[in-house]
């Protein structure tokens, strides 16, 4: 095992550095925008490390995609997919789901 900080704590450290030291020092709009994007990327990685949702396995996803492409759509496909995509969004952009409430 590695010493602390953990992977999660390292991501948090970089996120904090970008928001409190780099961002306020930037004047260039393009760099500012890309720094915000980079912070967002770190947030996604952090939430992915934190999650304990099991979700669909790689093989299940591949099989489902193959069946749907072939026109052999399982009866519960829509419900399974909605949960699968919601789980992805809870990692990539949790606020997005609030737009559907």
């Amino acid at each position: 095992m590695s010493d602390r900080p953990t992977a999660l704590e390292l991501l948090e450290a970089v996120e904090e550095f970008l928001s409190s030291e780099v961002l306020p020092a930037l004047d260039d709009q393009r760099l500012k925008f890309r720094t915000l994007v980079a912070m967002n990327a770190l947030g996604i990685a952090r939430r992915e490390l934190e999650t304990d949702e099991p979700g669909l396995g790689e093989d299940e996803i591949r099989e489902l995609a193959r069946r749907i492409r072939a026109g052999d759509v399982p009866a519960d496909a829509h419900a399974i997919l909605k949960e699968h995509v919601a789980a992805k969004l809870r990692i990539s952009n949790p606020q997005y789901l609030e737009r559907y409430e």
Partner: protein
């Protein structure tokens, strides 16, 4: 001369030459969709649009290759292009102004732009999805649903191909210019009509279904008045689902520019995770009927 913020798929350079404020648009490495126009063809589309009276920055010259990549020069215009800001405070009349421009674009004679392609849109996106490599069952579901519910097509017209807030320049007086013609092609006119309705292009103002800036009914009414083509909101529903398939796939292919090493960028990288937003929306849209 300096590089401007914005456009994820092309470079934009501010250049001042002989007293004119120019914008030099130059190719990046790689494209979002396989059918993207070359800069030379995009320049010809811009010229045709200008001739047709569409509000576009004045085309100046096609420059050939600059440092190994194609470029052209056009008038550098002032105004607001940031979708979030426009959706927060949309100028009155923008809804019908969008319809006015679309009517002019759709009236450009296709023979004026013989290089524009058409083709089966569902096959195109299935092909693009295959090029991504990783499986995306929600997008497959969208494509399946679209195949099952396909409406009879309208005859092809010249379409802008990326007609939405974010590609228009706006002032307090309303719409000033239409930008980003790289996806122009021949298609069902409803493809352009429905594209600004896609939730991703409402920039957070979800309740204003037309691009976060207005309602759909006055926009369609003006379009009908200008073109004689009566399109119902109901007809746009299928194309709205298609729009979400399109942009989900676009996010994934842009992300591959980063992953393959073609054009490394954190912006492209995160787009791979944004595709899930359009996947959720297309499932929601399909369920809502």
């Amino acid at each position: 001369m300096h590089l401007l913020a914005g456009g994820a798929s092309k470079e934009a350079w501010a250049v001042d030459a002989e007293g004119s404020a120019l914008l030099v648009r130059r190719a990046s490495r790689g494209v979002i969709h396989a059918a993207t126009l070359s800069l030379e063809d995009e320049f010809h589309v811009l010229e045709a649009a200008a001739e047709a009276g569409v509000k576009v920055p004045r085309p100046v010259a096609y420059l050939g290759e600059l440092g190994g990549r194609e470029a052209f020069a056009m008038e550098r215009v002032e105004g607001e292009t940031i979708g979030r800001r426009i959706a927060r405070n949309p100028p009155p009349g923008l809804d019908v102004q969008l319809a006015d421009e679309l009517a002019k674009i759709h009236a450009i004679p296709p023979e004026r732009l013989p290089f524009l392609g058409s083709g089966d849109i569902l096959e195109r996106f299935a092909g693009e999805l295959d090029s991504v490599g990783d499986p995306h069952p929600a997008i497959e579901y969208g494509l399946w649903w679209l195949r099952e519910h396909r409406p009879a097509p309208l005859p092809d017209v010249v379409t802008h191909g990326d007609f939405r807030i974010g590609n228009v320049v706006v002032s307090e007086g309303g719409l000033e210019y239409l930008l980003d013609w790289e996806f122009a092609h021949l298609s069902d006119p409803r493809e352009d009509l429905a594209w600004p309705l896609v939730r991703a292009w409402r920039f957070g103002a979800d309740d204003r279904r037309l691009g976060g800036v207005g309602e759909v009914a006055p926009y369609l009414a003006r379009y009908a008045e200008r073109t004689g083509r009566t399109v119902s909101e109901e007809e746009l529903y299928w194309l709205e689902v298609l729009g979400n398939v399109k942009w989900a796939t676009g996010c994934l292919t842009q992300c591959r520019r980063h992953l393959t090493g073609l054009d490394r960028s954190v912006e492209y990288a995160v787009l791979g995770r944004m595709a899930a937003e359009m996947e959720y929306e297309l499932l929601y849209l399909i369920e809502s009927r």
